[in-house]
């Protein structure tokens, strides 16, 4: 019995996802179909790409709240530049802008030794404001709607371009995190930055590149969104940040750092998407949907605690607090 519980807890994300699909399939007519899968994956892709980047940052003990704003900004830049550069070069510039925003986040967090929660809260406001400023608060329109229609196509009955990209990214990240030294260093930095530093890991650099990675992926997601909709809008992604954090945390990555997995994030993103779709299928009002999402989140966090309290005393102070220059008065 003990063993069964242990296994259930270990694969809790997969089990919750399977349960979601089973229950929805039983209740919601026509839910389990290829179309639901392909369109569900497509809608999960935007959240998923940002979540992929955030997974690395959370493991490294940092957080990035500005993903939704970078998403909007990158999309706008890639749309505005379409007439002068052409669609694909403009898209690349959009992704570059995402990376640049990430570099700003990372540079400030590492350089000024400030809490990433506060810093990215500030840059979130700034990036969002810039998005409003350069568009005059109006949505901007791309040059070629036919290209958008191609981008939105579903190939092989399952994948759109962006959902395929999301799956590829998350698998590559999984391999990187589990099979390479650099990947394992991220965990080391997240669980104890000082110890990692002392054993020769450049913690600052890991964090800096983590932010660039997260920014770039938010940029990719934003550019793809703008390509698919032929629109860059300063209000795109305003609801994304919370959904992304929720998906990553549901996937078992901890806000305290040092623990998490890419495949968990995949499970988290798919669970949230499957739930949303099931509830939309039955036109459950939006506010009730959020109650259910919130309950799932609480459930998983509680489960997570029962799995891992053995490793650490209950109520131990998380790394975000102990390793944080603000709470420690500037001393490392």
């Amino acid at each position: 019995m003990r063993q069964t519980i242990a296994i259930v807890l270990q694969y809790r994300v997969a089990i919750i996802l399977a349960l979601t699909l089973t229950v929805s399939g039983l209740i919601v007519p026509g839910y389990l179909s290829e179309t639901t899968l392909s369109l569900g994956l497509d809608r999960a892709a935007a959240i998923g790409l940002i979540a992929t980047g955030l997974t690395v940052l959370l493991i490294a003990g940092q957080i990035d709240l500005s993903g939704g704003a970078i998403f909007a900004l990158a999309g706008i830049v890639s749309t505005i530049l379409q007439p002068s550069l052409g669609i694909l070069p403009a898209a690349l510039v959009g992704v570059f802008v995402g990376g640049l925003c990430g570099a700003i986040n990372g540079g400030l967090v590492v350089g000024l030794k400030v809490n990433s929660l506060v810093l990215t809260l500030a840059t979130m406001l700034i990036f969002r404001a810039v998005a409003h400023w350069i568009t005059n608060s109006q949505p901007v329109t791309g040059t070629d709607i036919m290209f958008s229609l191609t981008m939105a196509q579903i190939y092989l009955d399952i994948f759109s371009i962006r959902s395929a990209l999301f799956i590829v990214c998350i698998i590559l990240l999984h391999l990187w995190l589990t099979r390479t030294i650099a990947g394992r260093n991220v965990f080391a930095v997240g669980s104890n930055a000082t110890a990692a530093e002392e054993s020769g890991v450049a913690a600052g650099r890991v964090v800096f590149f983590g932010f660039i990675f997260a920014g770039s992926l938010a940029g990719v997601a934003g550019v793809l969104q703008s390509l698919v909709t032929n629109t860059g809008s300063p209000v795109f992604g305003s609801e994304l940040t919370v959904a992304v954090i929720a998906a990553v945390v549901v996937g078992g990555t901890r806000l305290e750092g040092g623990r998490g997995s890419a495949l968990g994030t995949l499970g988290g993103v798919l669970t949230m998407a499957a739930l949303t779709m099931a509830m939309e299928f039955q036109s459950v009002p939006a506010y009730l949907q959020q109650v259910v999402s919130g309950l799932i989140l609480i459930l998983l966090v509680v489960l997570d605690r029962t799995v891992h309290t053995r490793g650490r005393a209950a109520g131990a102070i998380p790394l975000l607090v102990t390793q944080n220059p603000i709470t420690t008065g500037g001393k490392p």
Partner: protein, 312 residues
């Protein structure tokens, strides 16, 4: 632990079950602008009630004014395999791929309330909703009558770039030109359909132009209210110049009765919602529908203010 988990699952299941309906009826996906909004809510309610009468199941999805959410919800509609889609567009372009997907799956779509860009036309069967350009023209006629066809006016417009604003300002200005009116437009300022912003811009206008303001055209009634308040601050004893608003809200009716406003144009959200579902019902019955179906508009002045119902 497992007990707790299944308990929450029961809650989730209950939420899904709570809304499960009969499967045989035709299902129409209604992607609305928002759940709670002065105009959208009565339109949603009217649409739902009419659908109940027609025996049509409504899959109600609210965008909460988030375009991105709306584009994703179109995916849900297609995946669900509904019989028709009614979309309240908040952007001229963003929904086009979603509408194209619906068309590929042979799901007919129509737009409610707001227009989209021309490129969307090939993917929709019809656009039902107010003709905002005509509203502008009607406002011009009403204000001309009030001012005997001469004098100078200010325009308090909605959001810059918004389709409704463009139509309502364009219709007004074009109409004045068309009839060679002697009415001069002193200035057009944007107040984003917001009463507070209208109050601020009106203060400026009154300071700048003073008595030269002989008439006011506001793109909606809330902004007309903003001008009235600014006027009362500046000239407590003087009566307001003739003011024409749009929408036909209750408090605009009060202002017309008290003489603070000259006219408003009733654009009923109830009619808006009903027309959309009626049109969809005809499409589902295999009938052809016009590609543009406007809702009725009524100019309300002191003369008929007691016989017309306010819009909301």
């Amino acid at each position: 632990m497992i007990g707790k988990k299944s308990m929450i699952y029961v809650a989730a299941t209950a939420a899904i079950l709570a809304s499960a309906g009969v499967a045989q009826a035709k299902t129409v996906c209604y992607v609305t602008a928002a759940d709670s909004h002065a105009y959208a809510t009565p339109a949603n309610v009217a649409l739902q009630e009419r659908a109940d009468e027609l025996g049509i199941e409504i899959l109600n999805l609210s965008q909460d004014f988030d375009v991105q959410k709306g584009t994703e919800q179109l995916n849900t509609c297609v995946a669900r395999g509904v019989d028709g889609i009614i979309l309240w567009p908040l952007d001229p372009q963003a929904y086009i791929p979603g509408l194209a997907r619906a068309q590929q799956s042979n799901i007919p779509s129509i737009l409610i309330n707001s227009p989209m860009a021309e490129q969307a036309n090939q993917f929709i069967k019809s656009f039902t909703g107010p003709d905002v350009y005509e509203e502008g023209e009607m406002a011009a006629d009403a204000l001309s009558t009030a001012m005997d066809g001469k004098g100078s006016v200010v325009i308090i417009a909605g959001q810059a770039g918004n389709g409704t604003t463009i139509g309502r300002v364009g219709g007004f200005v074009d109409r004045l030109k068309e009839v060679n009116s002697d009415i001069e437009v002193l200035d057009t300022v944007n107040a984003d359909f917001d009463q507070q912003k209208a109050l601020v811009v009106s203060r400026d206008l009154i300071t700048r132009f003073g008595d030269k303001i002989m008439g006011v055209y506001a793109n909606d009634d809330t902004m007309a209210r903003g001008f009235i308040d600014a006027w009362k601050e500046a000239n407590p004893s003087e009566p307001t110049p003739p003011i024409v608003g749009i929408n036909g809200q209750k408090d605009a009716f009060e202002s017309i009765r008290s003489g603070e406003m000259y006219a408003t144009i009733v654009q009923s959200p109830v009619e808006d919602g009903k027309l959309a579902i009626n049109t969809m019902a005809e499409i589902l019955d295999g009938k052809e529908v016009d590609s543009r179906l406007p809702i009725p508009l009524t100019v309300v002045t002191m003369e008929n203010v007691n016989s017309v119902e306010p819009a909301f």
